[in-house]
Amino acid sequence: MNSSSSKDSMEMILGQLENIKRAEISDRVYDRIVERISKTSEKIPVVWVRAAAAVFLCLLAIEILSVNSLTKEKNKSEVAQLVPQSNNYLYNE
């Protein structure tokens, strides 16, 4: 196939694309869109779900931190009781 004939064939093919007719959309599509909009508005917005999850995680983190620090304190005092405190006093003083 020579250069000009292949160019012509390409133009002919592209010309076919220009002949595609505009199609009309079915009337029922709008009803389906409205139906889907009403369904999505019934759902809880994702932003609120995320905010609630963030608050929950914060509370959980605070709880874990406070429990940890309380346990540490308790352990510290228990260990402190076990270790004899040394001082410079003599027994008979």
């Binding site: 076919q16 220009e18 079915s26």
Partner: protein, 172 residues
């Protein structure tokens, strides 16, 4: 402007662009629904930097490409995809059902669209906007958010690749 007014004015534009991408009535209707749902959600954030028509074009192109990607994903990862997506995109995947194509041209056009579908996304979009939707170069460039030079180059490359795929690869 209400959604109904926007829909009445642009429904056939959206539907026809979607049809050029998927060549299937059911999927084009699905894309049209997705586009107008998106418009409904984002209408208050729409800035008049571009015209409403350009904005709608952009959403339609993106939604069409999303559906094609979802289709490919299902083909590749079928068993891992949620059943909702599967039923949404799996039906009539290969069925050529383009109401704008005349019956006597159906076979030739099916072959042509098969070659167009193998083009890279941006070349395919340039070809659809310029040749099928008959937009001007500057309109297509605005929709695709590229320069006029870039759209011209994309179109030329699309033609060249199409010629290769259709075995007309000399002299284009």
């Amino acid at each position: 402007m209400t959604l109904k007014e926007i829909y009445d004015e642009h429904k056939n534009l959206v539907y026809n662009v979607a049809l050029q991408y998927v060549q299937n009535v059911k999927e084009a209707e699905e894309i049209t629904q997705d586009v107008f749902l998106s418009i409904h959600e984002k209408l208050n954030t729409f800035k008049a930097d571009s015209s409403l028509k350009t904005w709608i074009y952009r959403i339609t192109v993106n939604k069409s490409l999303d559906l094609i990607k979802a289709r490919k994903r299902i083909k590749r990862w079928g068993i891992f995809v949620s059943t909702d997506d599967e039923t949404k995109y799996k039906t009539n995947v290969k069925e050529f059902n383009h109401p704008g194509v005349q019956l006597e041209q159906k076979e030739a056009m099916e072959k042509l669209f098969k070659a167009i579908n193998e083009l890279p996304e941006n070349q395919k979009t340039a070809l659809i906007l310029l040749k099928i939707d008959d937009l001007k170069m500057n309109e297509a460039a605005e929709i695709m958010e590229v320069s006029m030079k870039a759209i011209e180059s994309l179109f030329q490359r699309a033609k060249k690749n199409l010629a290769i795929k259709l075995n007309l690869n000399e002299g284009i």
